[in-house]
């Protein structure tokens, strides 16, 4: 300390100015300052509410005393809660798989369209993703309407009996997943398209010279080159799909018989509509461990491959 003080005589204004100047010149300082508005925003809009939700989840129904993990223990004993866990996993995993498959296939189609017309197709295919989901889901609600479904009207033309799109548990689950896939597939498509464009053409040429079939080119060239993008896209989509609210809320409100509730909608039903805010907070927090496990596995895989490269 004495050594530092000797080499760095405190109180000398010109030297102080110079060290401040040096600090401000550092790339890390500039980066931090530039990121500061975003950090503040995230602290206010994400970290504080998340912390507050944790606090709420530890209170009793009347919010008058601390109950620790009492709300979580209570949830574990509820059949409806386990139905919501099952439904949330089914909804998120099925939707992400279909979004990934459809996105992959469509990305290939678009990639093979001549460059001149490709921009129009890309724009059109992105439409479902850019419309606010609450609005597009309303349009789907009218298509699925119990009494006046446009889809059933089309089926009737071919003599097929109407489908209870939102009236039967199975069909209602299918309907909410379908709408989520419709909205989310363009995101996968655009990410995969970007990844496809970055695969060096020489690899395909080399594979062709080696006599690789279409399937072998996909399996041995395209997929390995896209693995990281596929993993990150799937993780991102899994988080967003798990946390979905608007599609289920608008389309079925969790019905029939709670068969389409996911964490977000059930948390709202219990916490806001039912007046049990601590329990609602506990329901919504239950997503965190599930997503944390998924994120750990996916990100670890990406890091492993990164170090292999």
């Amino acid at each position: 300390m004495a050594d530092i003080a000797a080499r760095n005589p405190a109180g000398h204004p010109s030297q102080q100015r110079s060290s401040l100047h040096k600090l401000m010149q550092r790339k890390s300082t500039i980066a931090f300052l530039m990121a500061l508005p975003l950090i503040l925003l995230i602290t206010i809009l994400v970290a504080y509410p998340a912390g507050y939700a944790v606090y709420l989840a530890t209170l009793n129904k009347g919010m008058t005393r601390f109950v620790g993990f009492g709300n979580f223990e209570f949830l574990f004993g509820r059949d409806t809660f386990w139905l919501v866990v099952y439904q949330s996993c089914l909804f998120a995993i099925t939707a992400v798989i279909f979004k990934a498959i459809i996105g992959f296939v469509v990305a290939h189609f678009v990639h093979n369209i001549p460059a001149k017309g490709q921009r129009k197709w890309r724009g059109m295919l992105l439409v479902p993703w850019v419309i606010p989901p609450a609005m597009s889901t309303l349009a789907w609600l009218w298509l699925f309407d119990p009494s006046y479904s446009a889809l059933n009207w089309l089926l009737a033309i071919f003599g097929i009996e109407g489908i209870p799109w939102t009236g039967e548990a199975g069909w209602a689950r299918f309907s909410v997943i379908l709408v989520n896939v419709w909205i989310g597939s363009p995101f996968f498509m655009i990410m995969y398209l970007a990844a496809l464009k970055s695969v060096p053409e020489q690899l395909y040429e080399a594979a062709s010279i080696d006599g690789a079939t279409w399937w072998q080119r996909i399996w041995y060239v395209t997929l390995p080159m896209m693995r990281n993008i596929i993993a990150i896209t799937a993780l991102f989509s899994l988080i967003v799909t798990f946390a979905n609210f608007d599609i289920v809320r608008v389309l079925t409100a969790g019905g029939p018989l709670n068969s389409t509730h996911i964490f977000g909608t059930w948390a709202f039903r219990v916490g806001i509509e039912g007046g049990d805010i601590p329990l609602g907070a506990a329901v919504s927090l239950f997503m965190v461990p599930i997503l944390a496990v998924a994120a750990t596995f996916i990100l670890r895989d990406i890091t492993k491959r990164g170090s292999e490269v």
Binding site: R78, P146, T166, G167, G255, R269, V270, I272, G275
Partner: protein, 446 residues
């Protein structure tokens, strides 16, 4: 959120005229008590209905020299519910707020007692019905004052022509305009027969069995008609009883004659069903009739609002009151109470009811005979029986008389309609009752 500001420069606070006005106001006793007031009202469905409230507030504000700001907050997307929750958490917000059905009890600890407001109002306007008392009064304390705007009965609204054609029922003779009902034959057995006849005739009854308010209210009234309680007033779970079994059996028979998709109906489905001309009967306040009047006048001409069928334990109709309450963190509680008293006067209530085309029903017994209900048309007298002017049916709320914290959960989680659908779709009675008992056990936690 629709916002309107009523500003008045308080430049004559010391003048004789202003002093006289302040003295005249019952709760605004000094210049300091005047000040500012922020009010959050429910944003009415009926176009133009907010204007009557706005005009009344303006009149009161000018008389009392209070600067009032009004927000009309929609209940669409639960905005009013979220506003209430946010204000309760933040302990800041409107001085006066509209509280829907269960909210006075939910926020009982944060609301200013209204006994000093309710007691004179009851003396003046007559008693309130049991449902208003159950929802608005806790341990002898009035939590809020029943509001005219938004309060409604969800009784049957039927097609005169189709009921006559398919079921041979003359609903106008049963419920004549301007006279007491002659509806002894309008019981649950005949209701079932009529439902069957109308379904066979191609125009079924449209009673939702989803999880939203309209469905829950209808099921609640029928459960009451059988005396079927899930949880009693003490908070004991009593769901496994004969009355519950009877109402589930009845509903199972009834469901055969309802459209197959009723388990997925929301609060708009029944309105659309009636206005489209498909349905013979729905359970709704006159909003469906008002829409038909605008969009399908030939159907509106055939609509008649009337009472519920009588069951083994009586004739019950769902009543959903809104309340006006004052937060205990309000800075101008005396002015807030004064405004609520003014809005609860018979003349104010009548103006609101007129502006809502008869939709709004004051909760006080002397205020159910306004001219608007007798005069609204087409057809003339269609709303005469809507406010229950002859006390022909008991006004009720689903899940009563369970303690509020349990009843609210039964209502919002639609336990009754879920029980009906489970059983009607083939689940064994005992399994349905076990499921309900387990859910109810969860609602009983503190």
């Amino acid at each position: 959120m629709v916002s309107m500001k009523v500003n008045r420069r308080r430049f004559v606070a010391g003048t004789a005229a202003a002093s006289a006005a302040l003295v005249a106001a019952p709760f605004v006793r000094s210049a300091n008590a005047a000040g500012k007031l922020s009010v959050g009202f429910w944003d009415h469905w009926v176009p133009g209905a907010n204007k009557a409230t706005e005009a009344l507030v303006k009149e009161w504000a000018e008389k009392n020299k209070v600067e009032v700001s009004i927000d009309f907050i929609t209940s669409q997307g639960n905005k009013l519910l979220l506003t209430t929750a946010a204000e309760s958490q933040a302990k800041s917000g409107h001085d006066v707020l509209a509280f829907s059905t269960w909210l006075p009890a939910r926020y009982a600890d944060q609301l200013v007692p209204m006994n000093d407001v309710m007691e004179p109002l009851i003396k003046e306007n007559g008693a309130v019905n049991g449902t208003v008392e159950y929802l608005g009064k806790l341990n002898g304390k009035w939590l809020a004052v029943p509001a005219t705007s938004g309060s409604q009965i969800k009784g049957p609204c039927s097609r005169i022509d189709l009921l006559k054609k398919h079921a041979g029922i003359d609903i106008q003779a049963m419920y004549p305009a301007g006279a007491a009902p002659k509806a002894d034959a309008w019981n649950l057995d005949n209701f079932l027969k009529a439902a069957e006849a109308c379904q066979k005739g191609g125009n079924p009854f449209g009673m939702g069995l989803g999880t939203t308010s309209d469905s829950v209210d209808t099921a609640g009234a029928l459960f009451h008609a059988f005396g079927a309680q899930l949880v009693n007033a003490k908070g004991d779970i009593v769901v496994k009883n004969d009355q519950v079994r009877q109402v589930l059996d009845y509903y199972k028979k009834l469901m055969q004659f309802l459209p197959a998709d009723v388990p997925s109906w929301d609060d708009a489905s029944n309105n659309k069903f009636l206005v489209s001309g498909q349905g013979t009967l729905i359970m709704n306040p006159p909003s469906a009739w008002a829409v038909a009047k605008r969009d399908a006048p030939q159907i509106a001409e055939q609509l008649w609002t009337h009472g519920f069928p009588v069951g083994p334990k009586g004739r019950y109709a769902p009543f959903l009151p809104y309340f006006w309450g004052v937060w205990n963190f309000s800075k101008n509680q005396s002015a807030a109470k004064s405004l609520i008293i003014f809005l609860s006067q018979a003349s104010s209530a009548e103006k609101m009811t007129n502006a809502s085309q008869g939709y709004d029903i004051p909760s006080f017994e002397k205020l159910t005979t306004f001219k608007v209900w007798a005069e609204e048309s087409p057809p003339k007298g269609t709303l005469y029986h809507y406010p229950n002017p002859h006390n022909h049916q008991t006004l009720s709320i689903a899940a009563a008389p369970a303690p509020h914290k349990i009843a609210e959960q039964i209502y919002t989680q639609a336990i009754q309609t879920q029980m009906v659908v489970r059983y009607a779709k083939g689940e064994a009675m005992d399994k349905t009752l076990d499921w309900a008992a387990k859910e109810l056990e969860g609602f009983s936690r503190n």
